[in-house]
């Protein structure tokens, strides 16, 4: 039986809702309000001066502020799409290896993959910066054994962002593998048995049964992967500082640099609001895409 109890209800709800209200919802509303103000982060909120959409005009304008922001926005979009496009298929592939029962080692694989998800991003950054070292690093040495020429990794504008995607994939893929396994366990085994009776091979079963029934899991994973990807910060802050030639300047790094280090709170907030809107569009688009795929089945 459920109850309607006013006193205890308040006691239960107050701590969490007050904390979330003060430290998440209020700052979110302040970000939106500040995006319309001329305001220095060094000073109180009372010094903010309303300037309409000027901040947005500037961050999308032709000046250097606009150029840097648009580059950061584009880099973040590329980084996010690349991360999601690599992580989701790998998570299904690894998930199948963990889930299958015929060959031992699935749990060992899961443990190793998920361990890197526990590693602080700062340590991932430190380790990979040394792995990528062009002369003393092991990655170019291994490529050499495979007769592949040495890469410049983080030190070339052509490969730096991709190198950060790669270390991010290494850190995150274990988490998404566990999600994929959770999705796989929901698929009734009888479907596969029926398909086998009908003469379907493993490839046909995968594309006709596994993938369609993993759609909800993939949608959930996709949303989380997008939210995680826009948070990339440590490798950029610690190693590339957005370079070489702005090639790794991503939004979390850029917004913090503008809004905190340069104290341009209004401009930084306008960038944060743009990021929030972009995320809403991306997530809605993902849901629409998943629904359309569902109707085609």
């Amino acid at each position: 039986m459920k109850r309607y109890l006013n006193g205890p209800l308040l006691v239960m709800l107050a701590p969490a809702t007050v904390l979330l209200g003060v430290f998440i919802l209020l700052p979110m509303l302040l970000t939106i309000w500040l995006s319309l103000q001329d305001w220095s982060t060094q000073t109180g909120f009372d010094t903010a001066r309303f300037i309409g959409l000027d901040n947005f005009a500037e961050i999308f304008g032709p000046g250097s502020v606009g150029r840097d922001f648009k580059t950061a926005l584009a880099n973040t979009a590329i980084y996010t799409v690349a991360s999601v496009a690599v992580i989701l298929p790998l998570s299904v592939l690894f998930g199948l290896l963990v889930y299958q029962q015929r060959v031992a080692g699935g749990v060992v694989l899961r443990t190793i993959l998920f361990s890197s998800y526990m590693v602080p991003m700062i340590a991932v950054t430190l380790v990979w910066s040394k792995l990528y070292s062009p002369s003393e690093g092991p990655l170019n040495q291994i490529l050499g054994w495979l007769a592949i020429p040495p890469q410049k990794w983080l030190s070339s504008p052509d490969s730096a962002l991709g190198s950060i995607v790669l270390l991010n994939v290494w850190q995150q893929v274990g988490y998404f593998t566990v999600l994929a396994v959770a999705g796989l366990t929901q698929i009734p085994k009888t479907l596969y048995e029926a398909a086998e009776v009908d003469g379907a091979g493993p490839v046909a079963s995968f594309f006709r049964i596994t993938l369609p029934l993993l759609r909800r899991t993939m949608l959930f994973s996709g949303v989380i992967a997008i939210i995680n990807a826009v948070q990339v910060f440590e490798p950029v802050a610690l190693i590339t500082q957005g370079g070489p030639i702005n090639s790794t300047n991503v939004l979390t790094y850029h917004i913090r640099r503008v809004g905190i280090e340069r104290s341009q709170g209004g401009l930084g907030s306008a960038m944060a609001v743009t990021l929030m809107l972009a995320l809403i569009v991306a997530v809605v688009a993902l849901f629409a895409f998943a629904r359309r795929g569902g109707e085609e089945e």
């Binding site: 109850r3 309607y4 701590p15 904390l19 031992a104 080692g105 694989l109 380790v127």
Partner: protein
């Protein structure tokens, strides 16, 4: 096949049934991916044990000729590692304790009370999960200034004492606690708070364990917020921020051993916790991801 993996408790065989050609492919894939995935951390530990000369060789040396712990001693000299570890432990422990209490209470309210606006309020709570921290960073930085907790561990901890994921997870699990159990306690005169802590909490121990581990690891590893709120107060730095100073200690290859030793030290607590308790992690991800 009679090959037996020594690491598994039940002496499971490499193959369950007579292997098909496909099974050899699966085995190769599992071994190959495991080795590749384990490589960065293995390289980290190996390099932390090398001499400075070995870390600078081209092509790189894989195994140290005579493993040495010198780099670890050097880390202790360059950064105040003891203090940083203590700061990390305080941040992670207090934040986790706060999250457990607020999540248990709010999770109970959302699972077991009917009240006007419950659905809407819960939707707002869940929506905050999807908000990347950078979106609120600038005003939050100013807000903790108003509260006079910037530059201190309190400034790192207080804004994170409630957490939407925790509330969500607790609600999912507390829903499964039978109402009859709660009503029996009410008839015996137990207060609602007493019911939460002495009846509900013991029934959802696996979820509490999972949430505690998640929160601890997340806040042990957290970098962006402590860096922003602690700017310059080096004596308050958690280990992950102190570590970043190792990279600028010496440019280029000179600091490699030092960096790897520091990274190994910071990685140990979360990874050891995970390996010991991975069952809880995995179960809670499964239930939050699928039942959600």
């Amino acid at each position: 096949m009679t090959l037996v993996l020594p690491s598994t408790a039940s002496r499971r065989r490499l193959f369950r049934q007579a292997p098909r050609p496909r099974d050899w492919f699966i085995l190769t894939a599992i071994v190959g991916i495991s080795v590749a995935a384990a490589f960065p951390l293995a390289w980290m530990v190996l390099t932390s044990l090398k001499t400075p000369a070995e870390t600078m060789q081209t092509p790189p040396v894989w195994f140290p000729a005579s493993p040495s712990l010198d780099a670890y001693g050097k880390v202790m000299d360059v950064i105040d590692a003891g203090r940083s570890f203590l700061n990390s432990a305080i941040i992670a422990t207090l934040t986790t304790a706060g999250i457990l209490v607020t999540s248990l209470l709010a999770g109970f309210a959302f699972a077991k009370y009917e009240f006007r606006g419950r659905g809407a309020l819960f939707a707002v709570v869940v929506a905050t999960m999807l908000l990347p921290p950078i979106v609120t960073l600038i005003p939050l930085y100013r807000l903790v200034g108003y509260l006079h907790i910037d530059g201190s561990l309190a400034g790192v901890i207080v804004p994170n004492l409630a957490n939407a994921f925790g509330i969500f997870l607790m609600r999912q699990f507390i829903k499964g606690v039978p109402d009859e159990l709660l009503d029996a306690a009410r008839i015996d005169g137990a207060s609602e708070l007493r019911i939460v802590f002495s009846i509900v909490a013991p029934s959802v121990v696996p979820a509490i364990a999972a949430l505690a581990l998640f929160a601890f690891v997340y806040h042990w590893n957290s970098y962006l917020w402590p860096l922003t709120v602690l700017q310059g107060h080096t004596d308050q730095y958690p280990i992950v921020i102190s570590l970043s100073r190792l990279l600028s200690y010496n440019r280029g290859a000179l600091n490699t051993g030092l960096v790897m030793a520091g990274a190994t030290m910071a990685v140990l607590p979360p990874v050891v916790l995970f390996v010991l308790l991975q069952r809880f992690f995995v179960d809670s991800i499964v239930s939050s991801g699928v039942k959600g």
